[in-house]
Amino acid sequence: MANPGIWRNEPAAPRAEPETGRPARAPGNAARGAVAMDPPAGNTLGIHDLLARLDSLAEENYFDGPTADATGPARLGALADPRCYRDPLNIAGWGANGLRAMLGGMIAIRETEIALGRLVESGDVVCPVHLAVGQEAIPVGVSHNLDASDRVFGGHRSHGHYLAQGGDLDQLFAEVLGKDAGCSRGMGGSMHLFAPETGFWGSVPIVGATIPVAVGAALAAKMDGKGAVAVAYFGDGAAEEGVLHEALNMASTMKLPVLFVCENNLYASHMDIAQRQPHDSTARFAHAHAVPAMVVDGNDALAVARAAGRLIGESRAGRGPGYLEAVSYRWYGHVGPDENIDVGLRRSAEELAAWKQRDPVMRLGAAMTARGDLTDADIDSMRADAAARAAQAAERALAAPYPEARALFDYVFARRAG
């Protein structure tokens, strides 16, 4: 039996051309058109409805049929192999301005993370700081499809999620340093970011905790009826918490507009995913709950943007949740700027070096310079600008005052803001 819930837009063969649009299976007869897009009656989603709905999403993607069975999809294969997907991105059809914005977004996240890492090394930052260098393409690709009316939630590694939504840089640095000018008034630090004015509705470090919260935000969005969606970012480790399964089931049954984004970086702190799960792809959980899923190269901002766009589009149209598994790798260790070599089964200097060749920034940058959108010097100056902005924000935050002592009690019980 083919697995109806799993979609991949990348062929599994090594060195494969990403985004070929090559269908592995001819679309079924019910694939396109009115039947496919009509939501099924009531809350039940028959297997044919689901197939039809998925086929309607297919376009450039192909259905990962042959490997799927009742136990779930194939392994990530090439997506988890850092020797693959190193080439410049295929940017055909993307305009230079949009790409420049995405590249700039990724560079800004990277330079910010690096600057925060330096503050950890200098001892100015004491709170735990989880850096996401190497994973910048995911939030940039997802937020490409969102605006401030949407509701994004994150976890312990969420600086990028916050920045991609347009979260304020000065407030981020102030927050990490525990200053009153921080986005959470210095009460939360790195792991408790909040910028609802941008659509970023909060990150917390209890693993998996914001998954059901995002489902609730999606319920509110559905009740509002204005087409907003919620996004829950979480890691492959969070997929081991029972709450993901409850949340997927509920969102699916209630057809809530929520995108589950699993940033699968193959590790949860010191543990390789192979030590924790029987499969390295988490999209099988979406399949189990009849939630359409796409598995993409998480170091390809365009693949992420396209897949997220498609799933979010379905959600906005009232057809329920989606699941995006974006495969990536963190260049730093679990916490702080240390590289954490030799933890888990696999992570080694060689593995890290190999993943650095699948650099999401470089791959987009190289494609743009090859097409003549940008020069290498342009990229260098984008990087220098971002670094300078981060350095400035750090300086301002270092000089900013701490909260007053009364802040300890001021926010314990919620009061209506304003």
């Binding site: 735990p128 525990g178 470090p205 969070a238």
Partner: protein
């Protein structure tokens, strides 16, 4: 022997002596999660008996409960008490109640080890000391070692006890030394509060890290000619206040210290026990308590420094009991 070493020695003794003991929890194969308290136990006893797990607190704890019903003596490790809340159903509704619900025929002899890991600007979800919360649960023994030898011997006693036990240790104690002593197999049912230091002027009562605060404060007070008696609770549930009551009858003054929150906390329980049992005429002043303020942990450096009770706070509370002015500023506790 320091406290972390005491814990490790306890594990080593149990794993060596009792084949039915195993340890399971997040971070057991990691150099980071549990500090020096379990270093290389996986290498010594194998990864079949020292098991690192997926990020699944609830299932891990439930699995330990299940194995304990079937003859094993598992120790579930939660490297941070805050994350253990995800497993609360298995601890509170299951382990703590099976014996009672099954008419005494079931004995979930599971030990749940929770680590209090706070400070370092980690914030509200990475700082909690929830011992009072769990001590509220009938059927769940709650143990809070304050010394290195108790860290070892109460761990062993917890695992050998047929009832479910929540064993809580605090990373702020890991470096604290106590004199070497031979391993003893205690009966947890017979263990309770203990006087760690004799004195006649004021009684200081604590558990876990709060006991360390009391001991330090007693040193400072001694330099000032004040004899403080320190009572370490050791076992919070079932709570046996006898030693506290005897001490307060003797000193007439009480400072209850707890590194948890005040409302519905252990410090209030201590004072209530004294209020019920000690004749009013015995009391030379009104009992006081030193606790965390009723607020979640902050992250900010300055707020964090104000948040945690210090030796100075305990000293000043004791001085106030004696009608004395606060001491000049002492160095902050670690």
């Amino acid at each position: 022997m320091n406290y972390a070493r005491g814990i490790r020695d306890g594990f080593q003794y149990l794993l060596k002596t009792y084949p039915e003991v195993f340890a399971i929890g997040q971070g057991l194969w990691s150099p980071w999660y549990v500090g020096a308290s379990m270093t290389d136990l996986d290498k010594e006893f194998g990864t079949d008996r020292v098991i690192d797990t997926p990020v699944s607190e609830l299932a891990t704890t439930g699995a330990a409960v299940g194995a304990s019903l079937c003859g094993y003596r598992p120790i579930v490790i939660h490297p941070r008490m805050d994350f253990m809340i995800l497993a609360a159903d298995q601890i509170v509704n299951q382990a703590a109640k099976w014996s009672h619900m099954m008419g005494g025929r079931a004995s979930p002899a599971v030990t749940v080890r929770a680590i209090i890991n706070r400070g370092g600007e980690q914030g509200a979800q990475h700082s909690q000391a929830l011992h009072s919360w769990y001590a509220h649960i009938p059927g769940l023994r709650v143990v809070t070692p304050a010394t290195a030898s108790d860290a070892r011997d109460l761990l062993i006693a917890s695992v050998l006890c047929d009832a479910p036990v929540l064993y809580i240790d605090n990373r702020w104690l890991y470096e604290c030394e106590s004199p070497d002593s031979p391993v003893v197999e205690l009966k947890l049912e017979e263990e309770g509060p203990r006087v760690l230091r004799d004195g006649s002027d004021v009684t200081l009562v604590g558990s876990g890290y709060a006991t360390w605060l009391c001991l330090q404060a007693a040193e400072v007070l001694a330099a000032d000619g004040i004899d403080a008696e320190v009572v370490d609770l050791r076992v919070l549930n079932p709570f046996e206040p006898g030693a506290v009551i005897r001490s307060v009858r003797h000193t007439g003054r009480l400072v209850a210290v707890d590194d948890g929150w005040q409302t519905c906390g252990m410090a209030g329980e201590i004072i209530a026990a004294v209020a019920e049992a000690v004749e009013p005429a015995c009391l030379k002043s009104r009992p006081a308590r030193i606790t965390l303020p009723d607020a979640p942990a902050p992250t900010s450096k300055t707020l964090e420094a104000a948040y945690y009770p210090t030796v100075e706070d305990v000293v000043n509370a004791a001085l106030a009991q004696l009608g004395r002015a606060p001491a000049p500023k002492l160095a902050k506790a670690s």
